[in-house]
Amino acid sequence: MGTMSIMGRTGDTKVTWDSEIPAEVEAAREAFKTYMDKGFMAYRVKGLIAEETRGRKGEQILDFDPEDETIIFVPPIAGG
C-alpha cells in the first residue's frame, strides 16, 4: 500500500493506492502527474526512522513508481 501526502493550507491531503489494483495505481499516477504539472516537488521516503539518527532522507523523484511506499509533495519554490 502506497501513500502520497500533499502539503497544503489545511494540512496534508493523502492519496493511497494498492500496487496490485490497477485502477488505484492509475488514479495515483494521475494524481502524481497533476501535482507535478502544478510545480510541486515530489520526494520518496524510504526506511525506518530508527535506522538513521538524523531521520529519513527524502529523495527527489520525477516519475511515479507504484512500488514506492511514501511520497511527499512539497509546493513549488520561488525566490523572495
Partner: protein, 194 residues
C-alpha cells in the same frame, strides 16, 4: 443626496478617523434601509450628517451589528481551529519523516540545522518564515530568501502553509537540490563577517 448614518467605528455625526478600518452606514432617505461597507479612506475627511433615529431603529441596527460581529468571531475561531489542526498534522508529517529527535529540536529551537551536501563546513539554519542562514566555519556568510508558493494564489509568501511543512520542504530542498536553492533564492551577503 442621501443622509448617512454611521455606526461601528463611526460616532453619530462624527468624522471618521484615519485609524478606523471600516465605516458602517445606512441611507435614511431610501424607502428601505440599505447597508453598505466602505473602506475608511472614502469618508476619511468628511463630517457626516446624522438625523435623530428612534430607539427601536437604533436597537435593531445595534442588534444587527452585534449579530454580524458574532458571526465574524465565530468564523475567526473556526479558522484558528483549522490552522491548529493543520499545524498538528504538519508536525506529525515532520516527525514521520525526520524523526522524533529532529521534531523536538524544531519545537525547542524553532529551526533546524542542515549540513551542506556539497561543501564541508557549510551549514544551513532553516526556520519557517525567516531567510535561510548560511554558516561557514560557524560564521554567518549569507542569507537566502525563498518561499513555498501557493499554486492557487501564487502569493510570494510561505505563511499560507503550516510552519513544520515549510521547514520540511526547505530541509529536503537543501539535501536534494542545493544548487537549485542557491540559484533561485534571493541572496543577501553578510558584509559584517570577519
Amino acid at each position: 443626496m442621501p443622509n448617512w448614518y454611521g455606526y461601528g467605528n463611526l460616532g453619530h455625526g462624527a468624522t471618521t478617523t484615519a485609524s478606523s478600518n471600516w465605516v458602517y452606514a445606512t441611507d435614511s432617505t431610501a424607502a428601505s434601509a440599505t447597508y453598505t461597507w466602505w473602506p475608511n479612506t472614502y469618508y476619511s475627511t468628511q463630517t457626516l450628517p446624522c438625523p435623530q433615529r428612534s430607539a427601536e431603529e437604533l436597537q435593531r441596527d445595534y442588534e444587527e451589528i452585534a449579530s454580524r460581529e458574532a458571526e465574524r468571531r465565530q468564523a475567526q475561531a473556526e479558522q484558528e481551529r483549522e490552522r491548529a489542526e493543520a499545524v498538528r498534522q504538519a508536525e506529525e508529517l515532520l516527525r514521520s519523516c525526520l524523526g522524533e529527535e529532529r521534531l523536538a529540536e524544531y519545537k525547542t529551537k524553532g529551526c533546524l540545522s542542515v549540513d551542506s551536501p556539497s561543501k564541508p563546513g557549510r551549514r544551513y539554519v532553516v526556520d519557517a518564515h525567516s531567510r535561510i542562514k548560511v554558516y561557514e566555519a560557524d560564521k554567518l556568510v549569507e542569507e537566502l530568501c525563498v518561499h513555498l508558493v501557493d499554486p492557487l494564489s501564487l502569493a510570494n509568501d510561505s505563511r499560507w502553509l503550516p510552519e513544520p511543512d515549510v521547514v520540511l520542504g526547505k530541509v529536503w530542498l537543501i539535501e536534494n537540490d542545493e544548487e537549485r536553492l542557491l540559484r533561485v533564492a534571493m541572496r543577501v551577503a553578510n558584509h559584517n563577517r570577519r
